[in-house]
Amino acid sequence: DVKVTQSSRYLVKRTGEKVFLECVQDMDHENMFWYRQDPGLGLRLIYFSYDVKMKEKGDIPEGYSVSREKKERFSLILESASTNQTSMYLCASSFGFRSGNTIYFGEGSWLTVV
């Protein structure tokens, strides 16, 4: 089974803090993604990466950055957390086109910024 692990399930951070969300996948997938999910807005893509050290902006990259130093690990960074970044963050990975673009999600990280 595909395993996408998000190291932090629940976090509470203060406004202005730097926040790191870590994600690891164990299926040697080339592609990794970060989404946020909010009620009424659905899933929105923040960033994705199709190779080590490569990244592409998604639909809502403002206020976020990412790092992919190793194939299995994709980190989401909030440089200066704000209350409007309170959300559920989902990491995902896939083989891409070779697997019909099906993606596999982690369990999610619930971030509250106070």
Binding site: V4, N31, G40, L41, G42, L43, L45, F48, Y50, G58, L90, S94, G96, F97, G100, N101, T102, I103, Y104, F105, G106, E107, G108, W110
Partner: protein, 113 residues
Amino acid sequence: QKEVEQDPGPLSVPEGAIVSLNCTYSNSAFQYFMWYRQYSRKGPELLMYTYSSGNKEDGRFTAQVDKSSKYISLFIRDSQPSDSATYLCAMSEPGDGNNRLAFGKGNQVVVIP
């Protein structure tokens, strides 16, 4: 027009009923179609995957794709309380470089015992 439209519900049905969910889309280039199930406070899990048009059955679940109408459906037979979840449709174009999925906003289903 949104790329993928999905009625958010909620949809409440009695146990044992058939659940019918659907999504419409506007991009005729979509070839891959997926359904994800998401339990409360969990990540979405892949439920069904279909390529192009046609039906696919897996146990109590049936996925249908009608590309001429740009319409996909998920049916759940003999629904159980454990089927209570949010169901998201997703789809994408084929080809390298098109790794992004377009998601519906999800449809909440409640199966009442």
